[in-house]
C-alpha cells in the first residue's frame, strides 16, 4: 500500500517536472553556445498562455504546442539578434523581455482566465506500463512527458557524442578557436538560441496543457527563474540539469505532502522554500567555500562530488564574439 503511494508520488513528480525539463534543457543548449536567454520567466508565462489559448480556440492541441514553440523561438530570436547583430547587452534584453512577456501574457490572456480547456490525454504505453514499479512511474504518463525523456537523452547525445555538438561546445568555450577552424560562430549561436527558445516554449505549453491546466494571471511566475538556476546547478550538462529539475519537483511535492503534517508552520514557508533552496543550491555549486569543504573529503569522494555538483560555465558565456 505504502509502496504504491510512493510509486504514484514519483510518477506525479516526473509528470509535473516535464515543463521544467524542457525549459532547463532548452536553456542549456542556448548557454552551451555562449548565449544567455534570461527571459525564461516571461517566455514561459507567454507561451503557457499562447499554448492554452491557441489550443482552446483552434481545438487542436498540436497547434497549441506549435504556436507556443514559435513564440518561444521568436523571443529567443530577439535576444540573439539584439545581442549578436546589434551588440546590445544580453542580460538587459533578457530582463526587458521578461517584463514585457509577463505583461503581454496578462493582457492578451485576460479573456482566457480560468476557462475550462483542452488537456493532453493520458496515454500509458502498452506493455511497458505494466512492468512493475518502473512501468507506472515512467510509462503511465502522457505523450508530452515521453517527449521530455527524448529531449533529455537527445540533448545529451547531441552535445557530447556528435560532431555538431562538438562545434556547439567550441562556440561556447572558445569562439575564436572555433572560428579559426571554420565554424560559423554567429550562425551557431542564432541556431541554438532559437532552438532553446522553442524548447522553453514547449515547456510553457506543457505547463498549461498537461500540468497546471488552464490559464490565470501569473500562472507560472517563478518557474523560469528556477529553470535558469537549474541550468547552473546542473553544470550545463543535460543529464544533470534534468536530474536537477526532477530533484526540484520532488522537493516541491515533498513540501506539499508535508504541509498538512505541520499545521503550525506558516504556508508561506513552503511557498518560499523553492527560492531559498535556489540560492542555497547556487551557493553550493559555485561558492568558494565548497572548495575548502571538499579539501576534507578523501580524493575519491572529492572526485565524485565534483562530478555530481561542480560545473563550470561555458567560458564564453554571455560574451559577444567579434570576428575580425
Amino acid at each position: 500500500m505504502a509502496n504504491s503511494l510512493l510509486v504514484e508520488t514519483i510518477s506525479s513528480v516526473i509528470a509535473a517536472s516535464a515543463p521544467l525539463v524542457f525549459a532547463s534543457v532548452g536553456e542549456t543548449l542556448t548557454e552551451k553556445a555562449g548565449v544567455v536567454n534570461l527571459s525564461l520567466d516571461g517566455t514561459i508565462l507567454l507561451t503557457a498562455m499562447t499554448g492554452f489559448a491557441v489550443a482552446l480556440l483552434s481545438g487542436s492541441l498540436m497547434l497549441g504546442f506549435l504556436a507556443a514553440m514559435a513564440v518561444g523561438a521568436a523571443i529567443a530570436f530577439i535576444i540573439a539578434y539584439g545581442s549578436i547583430a546589434l551588440r546590445q547587452n544580453q542580460i538587459a534584453l533578457g530582463f526587458v523581455l521578461t517584463l514585457l512577456c509577463a505583461d503581454l501574457s496578462s493582457f492578451i490572456g485576460n479573456p482566457f482566465v480560468r476557462k475550462p480547456g483542452p488537456s493532453v490525454p493520458h496515454l500509458p504505453i502498452p506493455g511497458l506500463a505494466s512492468i512493475s514499479v518502473v512501468g507506472p512511474i515512467l510509462f503511465n504518463q502522457d505523450i508530452v512527458v515521453y517527449l521530455s525523456y527524448v529531449v533529455i537523452v537527445a540533448a545529451w547525445l547531441w552535445i557530447f557524442k556528435t560532431q555538431p555538438g562538438l562545434r556547439l561546445r567550441g562556440v561556447g568555450e572558445r569562439p575564436e578557436a572555433a572560428y579559426a577552424r571554420g565554424v560559423a560562430v554567429q550562425k551557431t549561436r542564432y541556431l541554438y538560441t532559437v532552438l532553446g527558445g522553442a524548447l522553453v516554449g514547449l515547456g510553457g505549453a506543457t505547463y498549461s496543457l498537461s500540468v497546471k491546466l488552464g490559464w490565470s494571471h501569473g500562472h507560472t511566475t517563478g518557474i523560469g527563474w528556477i529553470a535558469l538556476a537549474i541550468v547552473i546547478f546542473g553544470g550545463w550538462h543535460p543529464l544533470r540539469v534534468a536530474l536537477g529539475a526532477y530533484l526540484f519537483g520532488a522537493l516541491k511535492s515533498l513540501g506539499s505532502l508535508m504541509q498538512p503534517a505541520f499545521p503550525n508552520v506558516p504556508t508561506q514557508v513552503f511557498q518560499t522554500a523553492p527560492f531559498a533552496l535556489m540560492i542555497l543550491a547556487l551557493l553550493l555549486v559555485s561558492g568558494d567555500f565548497t572548495e575548502r569543504l571538499l579539501f576534507y573529503l578523501p580524493p575519491r569522494g572529492r572526485r565524485l562530488f565534483n562530478a555530481l555538483l561542480r560545473g563550470t560555465p561555458p567560458a564564453a558565456l554571455g560574451k559577444p564574439f567579434r570576428p575580425e
Binding site: 534570461l38 530577439i78 539584439g82 547583430a85 546589434l86 551588440r87 546590445q88 547587452n89 542580460i91 538587459a92 534584453l93 530582463f95 526587458v96 523581455l97 517584463l99 514585457l100 509577463a102 505583461d103 503581454l104 496578462s106 493582457f107 492578451i108 485576460n110 517563478g222 527563474w225 535558469l228 538556476a229 547552473i232 506558516p266 508561506q268 514557508v269 511557498q271 518560499t272 527560492f275 531559498a276 535556489m278 540560492i279 547556487l282 551557493l283 559555485s286 561558492g287 568558494d288 567555500f289
Partner: protein
C-alpha cells in the same frame, strides 16, 4: 550637419522607441478587438483629468525616482540588482514593525519610521551583495530569490502576527495610527516631503556618479572589474557599498509607500516599482539627468492604465507592455544606430 539639425535628429531618435512601442501596443489592442484611441485616451485622462490624478503621478514618481537612483549606483558598478523590489519590501516591513512597536508622538515617530526603511533596506541589499561577492552567487538569482522571500514574509506577517483584530484580508494590516501618517496635500495622496526626498536622492546620485572619486571608481569596476582591481580598487568593498546604498534608497522608497501612500502594510507594497526602476535606468542610458523625464513618462502610464479596467474592461497590464516595449525598442534602436554609424566610418 549644423548643431540644430543634430539636436533635432537626436530628439527624433529619442522619441523613436516611444513611437515604435505605440505601434506595437496599437497592434496588440487591435488584435484584442479594442479601440486603441479609446485606450490611450483613457490612460491620459486617468493621469491628467484632475489635480488629484496629477498628484498621483507625482506619488508614483517617488518610488521610481528613489529606486532608479539606487539602480544607477549598482548599475554603474556593473551589477544587475534585481533585488530592489525586495529591498523596498524590507524597508516597508521595518517601518511597519517600528510603528507597531513604539507608541511615540508624531514628531518622533515619523522620522524614526522613515529611517527604519533605509536601515533594513541596506541590510537586505547587502545580503545579495554578500552572496555575490563571497558566495559567487550571481546577483540576479540572489536578488530575485530574496524578492520572493520578502514577499512571502510580508504575506506571513499580514496573515499572521500583524493581522487586523477582525480577520486578515488581502487589503493588508489595519491603518497605522495617525501619528505615523506622513502629511500629504489636502485631498491628495501626494507628500511634498517624499517628493523632495526623491528629487534630492536623484540629484545626489547625479553628483556622486559625475563628480566624485567613488563614482569614478564604481564606473571603472563596472567597465572592467579585473582591470579596476589591478589598478588598486577594492572591488569587493565597493560592490558591497553600492548594494548598501541602493538598498538604503529602495528601503526609503518602501518606507514612504507605507507611511505616505497606503498608511498601512499591504501585500503588494512594492508594487513592481523595483523592477520598473531598472527599466528606467536602462532607458536613461544610465545617466541620472535623464531619469526624471523617463520617470515622468512611466508614472503617467502607471497612474493612467488602471482606468483601462474600469472603462474598457481591458487588463491594466497594457501599461506594463508599453513601458517594457519602449525599453526593448530603445535597446534595439541603439544597436541599429551604432551599427549604421559603424558601417559609415
Amino acid at each position: 550637419m549644423s548643431a540644430r539639425h543634430l539636436r533635432l535628429r537626436g530628439a527624433a531618435l529619442a522619441l523613436l522607441p516611444v513611437l515604435l512601442a505605440l505601434v506595437f501596443t496599437t497592434a496588440i489592442l487591435l488584435v484584442a478587438g479594442a479601440n486603441p484611441f479609446a485606450a490611450y485616451g483613457n490612460i491620459l485622462a486617468g493621469a491628467f483629468e484632475s489635480p488629484r490624478k496629477l498628484a498621483d503621478v507625482a506619488v508614483a514618481a517617488v518610488p521610481l525616482l528613489l529606486c532608479a537612483a539606487g539602480g544607477l549606483i549598482t548599475y554603474a558598478a556593473g551589477l544587475w540588482n534585481i533585488g530592489i523590489e525586495g529591498q523596498m519590501i524590507a524597508g516597508a516591513l521595518a517601518t511597519t514593525w517600528l510603528i507597531n512597536a513604539l507608541p511615540l508622538p508624531s514628531y518622533a515617530l515619523l522620522p524614526l519610521s522613515v529611517l527604519a526603511g533605509p536601515s533594513r533596506g541596506t541590510l537586505w541589499g547587502l545580503l545579495a551583495g554578500v552572496l555575490r561577492t563571497f558566495g559567487q552567487v550571481n546577483e540576479i538569482f540572489a536578488g530575485l530569490g530574496l524578492n520572493f522571500v520578502a514577499t512571502a514574509l510580508t504575506n506571513y506577517l499580514i496573515f499572521g502576527p500583524w493581522k487586523p483584530p477582525d480577520g486578515a484580508t488581502m487589503s493588508g494590516t489595519d491603518p497605522f495610527p495617525q501619528a505615523a501618517w506622513m502629511p500629504t496635500l489636502p485631498n491628495a495622496r501626494m507628500s511634498l516631503i517624499s517628493f523632495a526626498l526623491a528629487l534630492i536622492a536623484i540629484g545626489v546620485v547625479y553628483g556622486v556618479l559625475r563628480g566624485t572619486h567613488w563614482g569614478l571608481k564604481l564606473k571603472a569596476i563596472g567597465l572592467n572589474a579585473q582591470a579596476a582591481r589591478r589598478m588598486g580598487a577594492d572591488t569587493t568593498r565597493n560592490m558591497l557599498l553600492a548594494f548598501a546604498v541602493c538598498g538604503a534608497l529602495a528601503g526609503l522608497a518602501g518606507s514612504l509607500q507605507a507611511t505616505a501612500v497606503y498608511r498601512r502594510l499591504i501585500p503588494q507594497i512594492s508594487g513592481g516599482y523595483g523592477y520598473l526602476s531598472l527599466l528606467v535606468v536602462l532607458l536613461s542610458g544610465s545617466r541620472a539627468e535623464w531619469v526624471p523625464l523617463v520617470v515622468f513618462f512611466f508614472s503617467v502610464v502607471q497612474v493612467g492604465s488602471p482606468r483601462l479596467e474600469l472603462r474598457l474592461q481591458l487588463d491594466s497590464s497594457l501599461g506594463g507592455v508599453l513601458q517594457a516595449s519602449v525599453a526593448l525598442f530603445f535597446l534595439l534602436i541603439r544597436g541599429l544606430r551604432e551599427r549604421l554609424e559603424g558601417k559609415r566610418e
